[in-house]
């Protein structure tokens, strides 16, 4: 039985207005329920690719076909604000620098996940329904941070902020979660806490995860499958265990040494 992939990226290209070719025709599939990790050097196009999927950046050409079993849509082709809203409901995202609203409370940040389903007028007055608040609290509990709900987001540590960001993305009730270097600005210990929560989200909620990572040790530990980008092109696709010395040099360039974090 062949199940259609939840995301099918075909020949995706992105050229920035300044002429930089960030993606030079990337194609791969994302299977439903997997924990896909994207590796590659800084500037290899990893971040650009994630941002093309949820259309924070506009792809120059190519297709990103989304199929959850009910709807099939090319995410690269949608134009209308309503469709963009639909896309963002289905594809959540967390960022390297967490991107929370610093002066707002943790709960208020998590409620941002409900913005797309709240009318503009109501949202401007911060009128979220009790069900929304309950939902937000549920996900705060899931990432183990419910007791901090009424503290300002900028008072939390980096790891805690990233967990708030995960809760915010989950509140959207997405099918896919994009994670752009989620642990790159965290210390090694906190790193694992955040990665463990991502795995929990993946395994318990069945949310497909596409995650950019730097550390190969983390990749081997968490990924179910890996793709590697280099200079805007796909250079590896497969099992994380099969990345050996030779592949490592191909991806990161000769002379590169693997750094281990415990």
């Amino acid at each position: 039985m062949s199940v259609k992939p939840i995301l099918s990226i075909k020949n995706l290209k992105k050229t920035y207005p300044n002429g930089v070719q960030a993606l030079k025709g990337v194609s791969f599939d994302v299977k439903k329920g997997e924990f896909l990790v994207v590796i590659g050097l800084s500037g290899s196009g990893k971040s650009t690719m994630l941002r093309c999927i949820n259309r924070l950046h506009e792809p120059t050409s190519g297709n990103i076909v989304f199929n959850d079993g009910n709807t099939e849509k090319d995410l690269a082709k949608i134009e209308k604000p309503a469709e963009i809203k639909w896309l963002r409901q289905n594809v959540g995202m967390i960022f390297q620098h967490f991107n929370l609203i610093p002066r707002h409370s943790v709960l208020s940040n998590v409620l941002m996940g409900k913005l797309s389903k709240t009318s503009t007028l109501k949202s401007l007055f911060g009128m979220f329904s009790d069900a929304d608040v309950a939902d937000a609290m549920k996900y705060l509990k899931l990432v183990g941070i419910a007791d901090k709900a009424h503290i300002r987001a900028d008072q939390l540590s980096g790891g805690q902020q990233q967990r708030v960001a995960i809760a915010r993305a989950l509140t959207q009730n997405p099918q896919i979660l994009l994670a752009d270097e989620p642990v790159a600005s965290l210390d090694p210990a906190t790193c694992h806490v955040v990665m463990d929560y991502l795995r929990k989200v993946n395994q318990e909620l069945g949310i497909t995860i596409v995650c950019n990572l730097h550390f190969l040790s983390l990749v081997r530990q968490y990924a179910t499958r890996v793709v590697a980008l280099k200079g805007g092109e796909l250079v590896y696709e497969g099992d994380p265990k099969n990345i050996d010395e030779a592949w490592f040099e191909k991806i990161y360039g000769a002379g590169a040494k693997e750094v281990h974090i415990s």
Partner: protein
């Protein structure tokens, strides 16, 4: 042609033309009638300007650094050899220019030590200072009533300007107004603000005193117009410096444009906004005093009445009241702005 060459030519052209024209006026000593012959004079000055740019160009070709060249040349051309300043052409260019400006402005302002120290004038000044120095506090209640009018005039002008400036600040911020249509709106708004601000509040007061009649209402409207333009510009500059992170974060949740502005941008700019607004109220109180002089109501109008009748002790009282209020507002706004950082 490179833009720095244009800038250098214009600066050098003007400075040389100014020196040539000044010399010509000094030597030829034209009559009033000749001085008012605009067409001929503009043509002559234009000719001098062209000669100036030509001289500038020739000097640069000969590797002599003119003032314009020294000021505008790109970093890669800057000489690394250090020559004492008095041996450079550009230094003497600047000195001659400054001396020329000094001489012409002394003549033009009819600067006179004699006037400053002559006995009649000095007596008048002493009388005035004596009057001001012994304020007539009988009119204190009247002065206080009037300064209250001024303070509230400034307050209302600031308060009414806030909603306009708030909305306009997003419309005139480069990072919000993306795309071709957005960018043209941005340019149009910025130009409008610059024009509105280049017309002094004093001029707006004259316009409104004709429109709605002399009084505090005219003054308030003048201050409001000026405040909208100033606040909108300051606000929008704040909007342009917000960090992108929260914007991406909120957008990734599926927020629309309004929701993004409200949740990602507003929390980042609200404190600077409050700070600018408090400062603007402080500025408006000072400006309201001046605006009163041309019929904008408040303490300024009272001041100009007493001054017209040479009632110096009363003027003295008003000056004391203004000084106290302006000082207090200044201090209060400084403390509030400090706390808001």
């Amino acid at each position: 042609m490179k833009s720095y060459v244009i800038r250098r030519s214009i600066l050098d052209g003007f400075t040389f033309a100014f020196l040539i024209a000044s010399l010509a006026v000094w030597i030829l000593n034209p009559t009033d009638e000749q001085a008012l012959n605009m067409k001929l004079n503009v043509a002559l000055f234009g000719a001098a300007f062209i000669v100036g740019t030509f001289v500038s160009h020739v000097l640069t070709m000969m590797n002599i650094t003119t003032l314009g060249e020294a000021l505008f040349q790109p970093p890669y051309k800057k000489s690394v050899v250090s020559i004492p300043w008095y041996k450079t052409f550009s230094a003497w260019h600047l000195i001659v220019l400054l001396v020329g400006l000094m001489i012409v402005s002394i003549i033009k302002t009819k600067f006179s030590i004699n006037e400053l120290l002559n006995e009649d004038g000095f007596d008048g000044a002493i009388r005035l200072f004596k009057g001001i120095g012994s304020p007539n506090f009988d009119i204190l209640p009247k002065a206080i009533i009037n300064i209250i009018e001024t303070i509230f005039m400034a307050f209302l002008a600031t308060a009414l300007a806030i909603p306009f400036a708030f909305v306009l600040s997003f419309v005139s911020a480069k990072n919000v107004m993306t795309g071709n249509v957005g960018f043209s709106i941005y340019l149009a708004m910025r130009t409008l603000f610059n024009v509105m601000r280049s017309i002094e509040a004093l001029v707006w007061a004259i316009i409104f005193s004709v429109w709605v009649g002399i009084g505090p209402f005219a003054g308030m409207l003048a201050l409001m117009i000026h405040s909208i333009a100033s606040l909108a510009k300051q606000y929008s500059e704040m909007v342009e410096t917000v960090s992108e992170g929260p914007i991406e974060g909120v957008q990734s949740c599926g927020a629309n444009k309004l929701q993004t502005i409200w949740y990602a941008i507003v929390p980042q700019v609200v404190l600077p906004y409050v700070s600018f607004t408090v400062y603007r109220w402080d500025i408006n109180v000072r400006m309201a005093t001046i605006i009163g002089l041309v019929g904008g109501g408040g303490i300024g109008t009272l001041l100009v009445q007493y001054q017209g009748q040479a009632m110096w002790p009363e003027v003295g009282t008003i000056i004391v009241v203004i000084a106290i209020v302006v000082w207090a507002m200044d201090q209060a706004s400084a403390y509030i702005r400090e706390a808001l950082k």
